[in-house]
């Protein structure tokens, strides 16, 4: 087992596409590290560079203490699970699992023992003699995971391994992967564009955008204090309300007059944007204390909560998360007020967090 150290990674494909602009990652030994970002932001490329399947244009990659820049994938002692599983179609499950071990030249008895162990861990017993095309998507995924396990590699790399599964199975597999990683204690780099997956799995999350790291932090940090407007708009569903604010007489105020608790040490001379989570706002009766007048534009009922879209006279409508016991009709006049602590505030021009 080993940590992974990525320094100043830059990858430019021969056709000129810059997939990774500049990425620094420091992944701890035994950590479950998630890379999250929108499509095309360079997640797969970064992962493939770590695996050695793609040669970086510049930058260093260390696995454990070894500088692996010039090592072929085979010598990096890493297992990868692909979005498209890539089980060898002409081999039965059993042989798919045994394959990497035979490549290492392990004795037969040990191969069998390890295959048996991985099969037990991933509950593949009845599937061992089937070929991939006779397995369901979820089963193929379990086989792919088992194939990554058997070799007991120094690290796992997962490239959106659950994308092809339906929602229910995905949730199950998520739990399973998290449990497995905890059990084995092996470093895992997990790539996804699904923030729920990232939040529920990761010890730490790196948010990537256009080939750069926007933020690295625990799920809580990332959720509470997104490091940039991009992260603020990316994390959470619905994401933060980005509200243009001004600092006036000790208050942060939006153009509509909505008052927010100001964080300390706000710079004065810039245009600011506050990131307000939908649960940090409240829809009230019109005229309630501390509220600004507004109007319900629409209400989206999500089972255990309602998301109200409220027009409060600002350029952009805000989304408010409310419990079920408070109901407002669409178009009803309402009040809107801020209930949470100081929100993160961003510089409108640099889009960075300032306080």
């Amino acid at each position: 087992m080993a940590g992974i150290e990525v320094t100043s990674l830059h990858k430019r494909y021969p056709d000129g596409t810059v997939a990774v602009e500049h990425v620094d990652l420091s992944i701890g030994d035994g950590e479950l590290f998630v890379m999250l970002g929108p499509s095309g932001c360079g997640k797969t490329t970064t992962l493939r560079a770590i695996a050695g399947l793609e040669r970086q244009t510049s930058g260093d990659i260390r696995i454990g203490d070894t500088l692996v820049n010039d090592l072929p994938p085979a010598e990096r002692d890493i297992a990868m699970v692909f979005q498209f599983y890539a089980l060898y179609p002409h081999l039965r499950t059993r042989d798919n699992l045994a394959f990497p071990l035979r490549a290492e030249g392990l004795p037969k008895a040990e191969v069998e023992e390890r295959v048996g162990e991985a099969a037990r861990l991933m509950r593949l017993g009845p599937l061992l003699d089937r070929r991939p095309h006779r397995l369901s998507g979820g089963e193929q995924q379990r086989v792919a995971l088992a194939r990554a396990l058997v070799r007991r590699p120094r690290a796992f790399l997962m490239d959106e391994p659950l994308t092809n599964l339906d929602a229910e199975l995905r949730a199950d597999m998520r739990t399973e992967i998290k449990h497995l990683q905890g059990e084995l204690g092996t470093t895992m780099v997990y790539v996804t564009h699904d923030q729920v997956e990232a939040m529920s799995l990761g010890h730490r999350i790196a948010i990537l955008n256009k080939g750069r790291v926007e933020q690295i932090g625990t799920p809580l940090e990332v959720y509470d204090r997104p490091a940039s407007l991009f992260c603020a708009a990316f994390i959470g569903s619905p994401p933060m309300n980005l509200i243009e604010v001004e600092l006036a007489d000790g208050h942060l105020r939006s153009k509509s007059g909505l008052a927010l608790t100001p964080p300390p040490n706000l710079p004065r001379d810039r245009s600011l944007i506050a990131g307000v989570r939908p649960e940090a706002l409240e829809v009230t009766e019109p005229g309630a204390e501390g509220s600004v007048p507004g109007r319900v534009v629409s209400a989206e009922w999500l089972g255990d909560e309602i998301i109200y879209v409220v027009d409060h006279g600002d350029q952009r409508d805000v989304r408010v998360r409310m419990p079920l016991n408070v109901r407002f009709a669409a178009d009803a006049p309402v009040g809107l007020r801020h209930t949470g602590g100081p929100p993160p505030v961003y510089d409108a021009s640099t889009e960075e967090l300032v306080a």
Binding site: Y13, P14, D15, R48, A51, G52, L53, P72, P73, A74, R76, I78, A79, M80, F82, F84, Y85, A86, L87, Y88, P89, H90, F99, P100, A103, E104, R131, P132, H133, G137, Q140, R151, N164
Partner: protein
């Protein structure tokens, strides 16, 4: 709720539930279609049928007027003549067939051995000006053989390849490599690169990964491509007649053509030789018919 997608989707009407009127009309149409196709087939295949008949007729029946369709005596003498010379020993024609087998076989193997790895490389790696290169490779096929045969003839005479089997093998290989590359590139594109990635992470080199994983998945494609290459080399006439002169080198197509044109033509022999010549192509096409149409991936990859 466990409703499988298949069940839900395949709920369309089964053929038997069509309204009766439509079914009757359908049946009438089928009858007409069958009749038209039968007539067409008879017309199209008549030369072939006639060739088969001629090859098993005795010579006086071949020339009989009016032509004998059914009441002739069957003989296999013509087929014997194809292989055995009149004084005993192998005939010149049989030598030509052997030449054809060697030339077509070797050139196909060469084209496959050169073309498949090239196709793999073009599919998997980023090559400078890949599109232009591929177009250039294909463009060598734009020229019909007749256009280039004269310069090639002159060159071959200079370098001593004229009237050699090697010369024919080389020119056929040169013509088949582009075709192999283009056709195989399509097949390689179909095999997900992730197999090789996975294999490389499992401890294999890139070449081993290609050899052990991609190649087996490509076999149907290779078979199909090789059969096309084989058929081209086997049937090729223009180069064969221009670039060879002796019976020892001549392949079957010019040799069979040479049977026609003397003062008398032994039509029975021509017909029998043509059938012997056509047979391997038919057999091969039949053997790989499944692969000629089948997809290559075995369905393990979900996209």
């Amino acid at each position: 709720m466990a409703v499988s997608v298949n069940e839900a989707v395949s709920a369309g009407p089964a053929p038997d539930q069509r309204p009766p009127g439509r079914r009757r009309r359908g049946r009438g149409r089928v009858a007409i279609e069958v009749a038209v196709l039968a007539v067409l087939a008879a017309v199209m295949l008549f030369p072939v049928l006639w060739m088969i008949e001629t090859s098993i007729k005795e010579n006086r029946d071949v020339y009989a007027i009016p032509a004998k369709f059914f009441d002739f005596t069957i003989t296999l003498d013509h087929f014997k003549d194809v292989f055995v010379a009149s004084g005993g020993g192998p005939s010149t024609l049989s030598g030509s067939f052997l030449n054809s087998v060697i030339v077509a076989g070797v050139s196909t193997v060469l084209a496959t051995v050169l073309g498949v790895p090239a196709a793999w490389a073009y599919s998997r790696f980023s090559v400078k000006a890949k599109k232009d290169q591929l177009f250039f490779i294909l463009s060598t096929r734009f020229m019909p053989p007749v256009v280039v045969v004269i310069p090639i003839f002159l060159m071959y005479r200079q370098v001593g390849l004229f009237d050699t089997k090697l010369g024919l093998i080389l020119i056929y290989t040169a013509f088949n490599v582009p075709f192999t590359i283009w056709m195989m590139k399509g097949f390689v594109d179909e095999v997900p690169a992730e197999y090789e990635d996975a294999a490389m992470l499992d401890g294999y080199t890139r070449l081993q990964a290609f050899w052990k994983f991609t190649l087996p998945l490509l076999l149907p494609g290779i078979a199909a491509t090789a059969v096309f290459a084989l058929i081209f080399s086997w049937n090729e006439f223009v180069f064969a007649i221009f670039l060879t002169s002796s019976d020892a080198v001549r392949t079957a197509p010019p040799a069979i053509a040479g049977l026609i044109g003397g003062t008398t033509v032994d039509w029975g022999l021509v017909a029998a030789a043509s059938i012997v010549f056509a047979l391997p192509v038919l057999v091969f096409s039949y053997l790989v018919r499944k692969h000629l149409v089948a997809g290559v991936t075995l369905g393990a990859v979900r996209r």
